[in-house]
């Protein structure tokens, strides 16, 4: 016998559905001893559901074995560029799970939910201060939903100005996150891509040429996805406003500038934040996050519903802005995530948030100089929170791809950085250490990447086999997409 998850077992071949035995159960359900009401007519009912039958201990072991086949921030350095994988303070979880917060029903009277609402109100005020954008809705569940809200707000404002008919384009840099163009399209706009200039900033000549009466808005990530400051963004903001369009900030990279410069002061009209990035809430394997949308007074009437307001009697209430684009969720957003973000903001204060951005930027630059010369650096400039190297030299000289480098990093005990993004950097390695990594971890990461560069020259073929220490080797993604196998199938059933 082998323990679940031992390297000898083909662990992934057996799902929970294939384990346990008929008749086992993990929980029992109280019997009903009262008056029996007949069930509805049988055509409205089902026969049974196929689900695993496991004892409590078996189920706990199965998911514990699965957790051991995962790597999180608590496991080690996780320098995934653009994702701000910082340490998640545990006290934030403790607070969100307090029964008073956890048990609050979303439709409870506001007077009965003042603990949550007061906290959200203070978070809202804090985010307004940090972004320099006075109006905030905490409703969006994630960054992409915040983006969607922001672009819909621009759309609604243009409609009220009577200009939506002709303003059908959103300008997006070619270095942007994929969510930006996808969001613009979801909101019904055409997308025009703006090239990046040699200094890593938006190409000014293209912006000036494209800005006309057909442009609704421009979406810009600050700092940009190269980890560089967007030169002259405050002047570009004036150009955009002179042309009658709005300037949107993708706030995914707020961690670089918290407490040091504000979107509102730079001339941005609207921004979304990713609280699961800059504000330390756990990423959860892909959520839940929170993507508040912040804006200036002009766009405030269009914010998504609800916003949190304090009435004259000091009671905090949920409200619908006058010209709101509407609700984004059935209820009020990911309150449990927002409580964690509030706890983080209060644990740091302004000096702490400035220390965060300061150290995040220092760590990225420290890594930049440690790796300098070992990998190509297409934009060889001091950076902010992240640095984008390129594996193009290794590809050209050794036939080793960034993909191989990333996989070998796993064997060195690290989560790989973001790869092949931004799209404008060939063989991109986008590294964001965050402020919560100690210098020793950054040095160890640099040493590992240097050792891999040397291995690429010495024994490139070995890199194609990486990783060799992970619970599983490289997987056949091509076949996965060509012959999709997307759910458990009863092995006893006839194969089609």
């Amino acid at each position: 016998m082998t323990a679940p998850g031992s390297r000898d077992e083909d662990f992934g071949a057996r799902l929970s559905f294939d384990r346990g035995a008929r008749g086992r159960r993990a929980v029992d359900v109280p019997a009903w001893s009262g008056v029996q009401t007949p069930l509805p007519d049988s055509h409205l009912l089902r026969d049974s559901v196929r689900l695993p039958e496991m004892s409590q201990g078996e189920l706990v072991r199965y998911y514990t074995a699965l957790s051991a086949r995962n790597y999180g921030i608590d496991s080690g350095t996780y320098p995934l560029g653009s994702c701000t994988m910082k340490f998640n303070p545990k006290v934030n979880d403790l607070i969100a799970f307090l029964p008073g917060f956890a048990d609050a029903h979303p439709l409870a009277a506001e007077e009965e939910a003042q603990g949550t609402l007061r906290t959200l109100w203070e978070l809202r005020r804090g985010l307004a201060e940090i972004t320099g954008l006075p109006a905030v809705s905490l409703a969006p569940a994630a960054g992409a939903q915040g983006e969607f809200a922001g672009v819909l707000m621009i759309k609604a404002a243009l409609e009220d100005r009577g200009e939506l008919g002709r303003r059908r384009r959103i300008l997006v840099p070619d270095s942007a996150h994929g969510t930006n163009p996808a969001t613009a399209a979801m909101a019904g706009f055409a997308v025009t891509h703006i090239p990046t200039a040699d200094d890593g900033s938006l190409d000014r000549a293209t912006i000036e040429r494209e800005l006309d009466e057909t442009v609704a808005g421009v979406m810009v990530t600050v700092p940009n996805t190269l980890g560089l400051w967007e030169w002259g963004i405050e002047e570009v903001a004036d150009l955009i406003h002179d042309a009658g369009a709005y300037l949107y900030a993708d706030g995914a990279n707020l961690n670089a500038i918290m407490g040091r410069v504000r979107y509102g002061d730079l001339g941005f009209d609207v921004a979304h934040l990713n609280l699961h990035k800059s504000f330390s809430t756990p990423h959860g394997g892909g959520g839940p996050g929170a993507g508040p949308v912040c804006c200036n007074d002009e766009l405030a009437p269009y914010l998504p519903t609800p916003i949190v307001v304090e009435d004259d009697g000091g009671v905090v209430r949920l409200a619908a802005p006058e010209r709101s684009i509407g609700q984004l969720q059935q209820f009020h957003g990911n309150a449990g995530v927002l409580l964690r973000a509030y706890a983080y903001m209060r644990a740091l204060g302004l000096d702490g948030l400035r220390a965060v951005s300061g150290q995040a930027v220092l760590n990225a630059n420290y890594l930049r100089v440690l790796l300098h010369g070992h990998y190509d650096l297409p934009y060889d400039l001091p950076v902010l929170h992240e640095v984008v190297f390129s594996g193009s030299r290794q590809r050209r000289q050794n036939g080793v791809r960034t993909y191989d480098i990333a996989k070998r990093l796993i064997d060195h005990g690290f989560h790989p950085p973001t790869v092949y993004f931004p799209l404008i950097v060939e063989e991109a390695l986008m590294i964001e250490p965050t402020e919560t990594e100690p210098p020793e971890a950054i040095e160890a990461l640099a040493e590992a990447l240097i050792a891999i560069a040397e291995e690429a020259e010495r024994d490139p073929d070995a890199l194609h086999d990486a990783p060799v220490t992970a619970p599983i080797g490289r997987l056949d993604e091509t076949t996965a997409a060509r012959r999709p196998f997307l759910r458990w199938q009863d092995p006893g059933a006839v194969k089609s």
């Binding site: 009903w32 995962n70 029903h105 609700q327 997409a481």
Partner: protein, 456 residues
């Protein structure tokens, strides 16, 4: 708050000490931290920002502990449902979903060290397909309402139609969100009181199961109606009720959405929530969100002497924003993975028998409570057909007044639905009683209603 000039690290979350920083700055070649921000425009650098002072961990716990206690959630009896229900969540759920390898990972971009998240995602897809009777599921969206909106967008894409129909009674929040998303796509939203109002312009008919007033819907005739018109049937189903009710896929649904939050854990003021999204095979390449697929290692058995093992990867990514950009099926990136894990474990812990028993217990308890209320002088429970866990109560005083009198007795009444168009909802409150409502709470409700009746 020690400033960054003091010796040591500036905060427990930031490890670098002053000595570390000095050494690192020297290596980078600048004198001070602020020099790293020289690119930021000087006119806007280091603005005044008004934030409350920092708190130590004990101070933070004290402050937010007091805040949590200000919420009345723990001290009142509540019969609110209307989209968020009290459930008996197995204890192993919070235990397993607190494991930091799950909690502190991100989207599984590196499958070799993310099999925990990926295989769990495949488990989730399998559970959702079994519950809904559908062919495919994604790994979850934000919540039921946004998932339903995505379902409407999918239907509009595949039918190339520009209107969607919602059948009343549907949760007003769901209808609102469909309206928001439809506004982006330029779709019209029609709210129908009967499927007779469907036209050939409608991309889909959205039907809530059980409906917003708690009634179990016979989906099959509705599926036939919308299919005759060339549209899709989108069912918004309570996954817990599907322990008892016919799988929507067996009744002709093309897309099934649902809310997974309640089975996953506490209501938490409505979020984090979890949108379920399942569909028929023809819509596989139109699905929004992340999808996990099963595959095998690339290793060559002849070279390595070992058979390739089974593993899981994110797949069908050509639909997604980071590849397809403005031509993506949705802009969704981060969704609600950890809540999906909790949902999966909860459903699997219940298992086939537990889920059915639990759903039946919910049904029995709710009907028993309704019967006791209906037996009180001055009260009636208007029925619109078979129902699951929510019932309408019309009392001897107007609905708002009844809720206020219950509130004075420490009881949060069901939602006031007296302003709705359905005749049964006139003057009524919508009460939810589930398998997790303590017996004593129902007793207290019945006593309170009786005493209110006596006052009139």
């Amino acid at each position: 708050m020690p400033s960054s000039t003091t010796v040591g690290s500036p905060h427990p979350y930031i490890p670098a000490t002053d000595a570390d920083r000095k050494r690192m700055l020297a290596r980078v070649g600048v004198d001070e931290l602020d020099a790293l921000f020289a690119d930021l425009p000087a006119a806007f650098r280091d603005p005044n920002i008004d934030l409350p002072p920092a708190l130590t961990e004990p101070e933070l716990i004290a402050l937010l502990g007091a805040r949590a206690a200000e919420n009345a959630a723990s001290s009142r009896l509540s019969f609110l449902g209307a989209g968020a229900y009290r459930r008996s969540v197995p204890s192993i759920v919070s235990h397993l979903t607190s494991r930091s390898e799950f909690v502190t990972a991100y989207t599984p971009y590196q499958p070799e060290i993310s099999q925990g998240t990926l295989q769990s995602g495949f488990e989730f897809q399998s559970v959702v397909c079994e519950l809904t009777g559908m062919d495919i599921s994604n790994t979850g969206l934000y919540d039921v309402a946004s998932a339903t909106a995505e379902g409407c967008l999918l239907a509009a894409r595949v039918t190339k139609r520009s209107a969607v129909a919602l059948l009343e009674p549907i949760h007003p929040g769901t209808a609102e969100v469909v309206g928001t998303y439809a506004g982006g796509a330029g779709l019209n939203v029609d709210r129908l009181s009967s499927a007779d109002e469907l036209t050939d312009e409608h991309a889909c008919l959205v039907v809530q199961q059980p409906d917003f007033l708690g009634t179990i819907v016979d989906l099959e005739p509705l599926g036939l109606r919308v299919h005759e018109r060339g549209g899709l049937l989108v069912t918004v189903a309570d996954p817990f009720a599907l322990g008892l009710l016919q799988a929507p896929g067996d009744a002709g649904a093309d897309i099934v959405t649902g809310e997974g939050r309640d089975l996953a854990g506490a209501p938490a003021f409505g979020g984090p929530s979890l949108g379920l999204f399942a569909a028929g095979l023809p819509y596989m390449r139109q699905m929004p969100g992340r999808i996990v697929g099963r595959t095998r290692e690339l290793r060559n058995a002849e070279n390595s002497g070992e058979e390739p093992r089974t593993g899981y990867v994110l797949t069908l990514q050509a639909r997604e924003q980071f590849i397809r950009r403005e031509r993506a099926t949705s802009n969704v990136s981060t969704a609600q993975a950890l809540i999906a894990l909790a949902f999966t474990i909860a459903v699997q812990a219940l298992g086939p028998r537990g889920l059915r028993e639990s759903a039946e217990l919910c049904y029995q308890r709710a009907h028993d409570a309704a019967r006791r209320v209906a037996a009180l002088p001055g009260y009636e429970v208007p029925e619109r057909g078979p129902w699951f866990q929510e019932f309408l109560v019309r009392g001897p005083v107007p609905a708002g007044e009844l809720a206020a009198r219950l509130s004075r007795r420490g009881i949060t009444a069901g939602l006031d639905v007296s302003n709705r168009a359905e005749p049964e909802a006139r003057d009524s409150l919508l009460f939810a009683v589930t398998e997790a409502t303590p017996d004593g709470h129902v007793d207290a409700l019945v006593d309170a209603l009786a005493s209110i009746g006596d006052e009139v």
